[in-house]
Each structure stands twice: as C-alpha cells, then as structure tokens.
Amino acid sequence: MKKLLTILVALTLAMTLLVPALAQGTTELTFLRIGNDEAERAYWQWAIEAFQKENPDIVIQYDEAAIGEPMDTKLNTLFASGAGPDLIGHGILSVAQRVNLGHYQPIDDLFATWEGKDDIMPSVLANGTYEGKVYGLAYSVTPYVFAYRIDLLEEAGIAVPTTWEELAAAARALTQKDENGAVTFSGFCYPQTGGNLVELDVFVYGNGGAYLSEDSQPVFEGNEQIAGALAFLKDLLPDVNMIYSNNEVNPFVAGKAAMTLINNAALTTMINNPEYEGKVGMALPPNNGTMASFCGCNMLFIGRDCENPEAAFKFINFALGTDSALKRAEMVKIPVTRKSLAEQYETMDPWNAARVACVEYGTGMPRVTWSTGFQQVRNALSQSVLFGDVDISIEDALQQAQKDIEFRMEQ
C-alpha cells in the first residue's frame, strides 16, 4: 500500500513539474472570455494564433466560461485571490460593478493612441465607458432581433409587423391550438423565465420608456410606459405563447413558433440549417412609437492584475483591427463595431441591415453598480405580471418592484 502510494506521489510530482517552463523573455497573458459557443471559440483561436505569429514574444492562454454561474464563479474567485486574468471578455452588466471594485484597468492612455479610436461606433464606445473613463472596447454586439418565418407570413398574406397592433394581429392569426385550447404552434413566443429577460426591455423601450431616471435611479413605481408594455403583453401572450425559458431553446428555433424576439447569435444554427433556408427573416422589433431593441455588448477589458497592459492592448488592437473584425463578422455573423466597416458589413449578408438597425437603436443593460439586482427585479416583474398564478395588478407589481430594487440597492 505504502509503496504504491509513494510511486503515485512521485509520478504525479514528476507530471506537474513537466509543465512547460516559460522561455526567457516571453510575456504570458491570460485571457478569459464569457460564453462557450463554438463559432466564437473558433474565431478567438484563429485570432490568437495569428497574433502570436506576428508577436512571437507574447503567449496568450485562452480560456472561456459559459454565461452566468461558470463565468461569475471563476472570474470572481480569481479576482478575490489577486489572480485576475490579464484580458477579460465580458458584457455591459459587469462594467459599473467591476470598475467600482477596481477589477478593470482604465485604458484612456492606450485608447488615445489607438488607430481605431475615431472609428468605433459612439454608442458602442459608450458601453465601455464609465464615469468618464474608457475601460472596455467592444468586440461584439449582441442585438436582439425580431425574427419571423417568411414562409408562414407569406402563406397567411400578412406583412411583417412594425407596430404593436400589427404584431398582435399577426400573432393571433398564426397561432394554432389543439382541442383543449393549448397552443401547439405559437404566433409569437416570449420567455417565462430565464437568466436575463431582456425581451421585456425591448417592449418597454419600444414604448418610449426607461427603467432609470436621469440620475440613474430606478423608476418602476408609477411608470406608465412600463405599465403600458406589461399591459400589452399581458393581453396578448395567453392567446399566442408557448412556455419556455430563454436559457433553453427558443420554440422559434425548434420550428414551433412564427415570430419571436431572439438573440442574434442564437439564430445562427437555425440559419445554417438547410431545412430553414430562406425561411428566416429578421427585422427591427415592432414598437409602439419608439424604434428600439435590446443590444448587449461584449468588450475586452484589461484586468487589474495585469502586469503588462501594453502587451495586452497590443492584442486588443489586433483583435479589433479591421481585418480581424471582418473575419469575425464572417465567421460569427455578428455586426461590426466600426463605422468604416458598416457598409461593407451590410453587403456581406442580406439580413445584416436589420442586424445593424437593431444595434443602432439598441440599448443595453444599465451601467449601474446594482445592475445584477436590477436584473433580478426586472425578471421577477415580468414573471409575476405575465405568468404569475396569483393575479396581481400592474401598479401593485410595479410598486413591489420599486420596493425590491430599493432594498437591493441598500448597502
């Protein structure tokens, strides 16, 4: 027993010591990206290889973690122990909180010398700015688009809806139900639960509303635009909706819905599926007076514990350069973030114009330190009003939301 133990111990020790030693003079950078989809991974692996060829003295260790628990757990543990990654790919939600905690380094100096500083779209740049300083540069925007089945709308002779009334009419016309009244094919599907119910945001913004006041305070209580959006959905959804969570497959992608709001990236598999060729259309979401959508943004940040920010920025520069950006748009089908490439991007794919529109009119998560609390409260609001088993009036729900968010904002 002991002998076996000793042998095993020796073996393992030997194995761990076989970790390749760093050659003299190379800089090693760690890069942690949020999201674990294949297309993006392929792109980043290409980018890192190409970059390392041009810069043989820099080595990049790539790692990724799925959105939500894996990324949060990993990133926060790393930062809490002083081992934060050098390069971080993360979203808008993280900006305010992490800047406050000092996780991200401000990159104003490096940004000022960047060749693309005037080329980056202003709205996109704003996402990575907090309290006047630049922290993150966007490599991808994730707009939510209004997706519809071209073939089904044509068959029913319905034009692509652009207003709420048109949406309601179209959805009701395209919904199919069985003898018990349960929806078997959804005209318009909207998630009941999920990690981040931004679908509600699309309707709120489309109604000209906002969650925050001018001075970044939450304004749920008595908010007429939010109430209006909720009322519209509350009236429509029971007639046309199928239950799903936006963490899982959208019924539209599974071929069970005619229209939906969906993350642009989530449509990729469906578009590549020969069965749905020519049947998937995208547009700006139908609205009630204000053109709007939700548009998330993933940015590259330099971590607090990075000892070589110049090297890190070199990689950022490469990854956001025009060649890389175009290659990315091609591989991942995600809109570009540089103004100069917008035209070229639109020619690459017939639906890119719609995607770009969603980016242009899209708003992201609020950049406040209590953004995760906001996410929870907004999710609860959507669920309790639209799917709750207890019938609650919209004003009461908004009041409750206000109370909840204020509690969460407390120190």
Partner: protein
C-alpha cells in the same frame, strides 16, 4: 444473506405480501430505469425527432454517429486521463489518511476527542461555495511548488482540497468501533505502539470499508464540477464534467450529443460501482450499524 426459502410458503398472508412486494419493486424498477432508457433513446435521435410532438420510446433511426460527434467535440482522451488521474490520486491519498484518523477516534482515548470529532462532523455540513475563495487564495500562495500561480492549474490543485473527508473519517470510525477491544489489548501486551496496531491489525482487515470509501471517493471526485471549473484554465487539465458543458450554450442545447457524452462519462463510474457492489454492502454494514 438471510434466505427465507426455509419456511413453508403456505401462509396466504405471505403470498399476498409477496405480490405487493413484486408490484412495488416493479414500480420502483420502472421509475429508476425510465430516465436511463430515455437518456439512451435521446442520445440516438436527431434533434428534429427530439422536438417532434409524438412520444417515441425507441429511436426511429439510431444515430450512432451522435456518439462519435460528441467525442470529437474536444480532446476527450485528455479529459478522461485528467479525471482518472485526479480521482485515483485523491482516493489513494485520502483512504489511508482518513482511515488512520477514523481509527484514532474509535480506539484511542485522549483529551478533547469528543469535541474534536464534533468539529470534524460539522465539516460535512459546509457547502462548497463557502470554501471556494479561501481555498483558492491559499492554493495560489503555495508558490514553492508551482511558480507564480502556486498550485492553481495543477493536478495537486485539483486533488488537495478533497483529501480530507469528514464522511470518510466518520465511516471508518464506525467500522473500527465494531472490532473487539481485545485486539488492542493483545497488541499492547505484545509491545506494539498504537500505530503498529493500526498498521498490522486494523489496516489489513479494512477491505470492506476501503472498498466502499474508494468507490464513493472515486465517484465523488469524478463527478465534481465547481472546483475544477475554478482551479483550472484552458484545455490542459480539463476534466470530463467540465467538458460536458460544451454541449450547452446560449440558446441551444444539443440534447442528443449531451446525453451521449454524459453516458460515456458516467459509464466508468457505473462499472466501478458494479464491481464493488459486493464489498460495498459489507463495508457500509460495519460503518453505519454500531455506535
């Protein structure tokens, strides 16, 4: 094993009771087997078939290709190797250490024994989320072995936190408590130290409880997800549970490949359980019965 074929089967009460048992067992068996069958079925279906409205018990056209596709998604031989190494080392190291501790609590009287054992038991009640950050920070600071990042992203980083197991100590203690005290007395008369008594008497007789502990520890480490997620980066040390997340991302879950991969990942554990079943029963027997 208690065999009741001895008594006559004439009693009608017993006959009826037997039938109740059979029905009960049938229901339980269906309940247990159902998900497993569905898992296998789904792993052999195409995605449209999975989304279809009808219920199909067996796949229409078994897609064995799902398994190859799943195994081609990533460097699975590496992941299996990593999981195997980590699980094996953990179990070997923890077995001896925990057994020894169990023996101490069972057989040696010393001050604070009761209190210390209570503390050890409390250790079983702590959720991993609580220990993540302090343990990670500590491992990182062991720069002697790993350079700048200490033991992070090393095999030892994956193994060390799992070696001390309160459950293992608890089980071994109960097991050793069933040994006759005369053994220790005899050993002492022969001039053996406590350690020698442990090594020469208790250890050789620990087969059953070791089998149980080994199986539980191996399975536990093989099935761990959170800690490997935090302490490893990239491909080099990826374990099988981490690799399973590849089939699930934003907006799409590839159920068929996920089920296929899950089966492949768990089959080694099923095999281990199967082989150890015999010893399992004997080992847990001693561990849980007597005080």
């Amino acid at each position: 094993m208690y065999n009741d074929r001895k008594q006559s089967a004439i009693r009608p009460d017993d006959r009826a009771f037997r039938w109740v048992q059979r029905v009960f067992m049938l229901l339980m068996a269906l309940l247990m087997a159902g998900p497993l069958v569905m898992m296998i079925t789904v792993s052999l279906q195409t995605m449209p078939e999975i989304y279809a409205a009808e219920f199909t018990l067996l796949p229409k056209d078994p897609q064995w290709g799902n398994y190859t596709a799943a195994m081609n998604n990533g460097n699975w031989p590496l992941y299996f190797k990593n999981s195997a190494i980590v699980s094996a080392i953990t179990l070997v190291a923890s077995l001896f250490i925990n057994a020894m501790a169990g023996y101490v609590f069972a057989r040696i009287q010393f001050r604070f024994r009761q209190a210390l054992f209570m503390v050890v038991l409390i250790g079983m009640m702590i959720p991993p989320q609580v220990t993540l950050i302090p343990v990670f920070t500590m491992l990182r600071s062991f720069t002697l072995f790993g350079g700048r990042t200490g033991l992070v992203n090393t095999y030892w980083g994956l193994v060390l936190p799992y070696i001390a197991g309160s459950f293992g100590v608890f089980l071994c203690r109960q097991y050793y408590l069933t040994f006759p005290v005369e053994l220790d007395d005899a050993a002492r008369m022969d001039g053996c130290s406590r350690f020698q008594a442990f090594r020469h008497i208790y250890l050789p007789l620990s087969g059953p409880v070791f089998a149980s502990l080994a199986v539980l520890k191996f399975a536990g480490t093989w099935n761990e997800y959170t800690w490997p997620l935090v302490v490893t980066s990239g491909e080099r040390l990826k374990t099988v549970q981490l690799a399973l997340t590849a089939f699930r991302n934003e907006g799409e879950i590839f159920w068929n490949q996920l089920m296929a991969a899950t089966l492949v990942v768990e089959i080694p554990i099923y095999i281990v359980f199967l082989f150890a079943q015999k010893h399992f029963v004997k080992g847990l027997l001693m561990g849980s019965v007597k005080a």
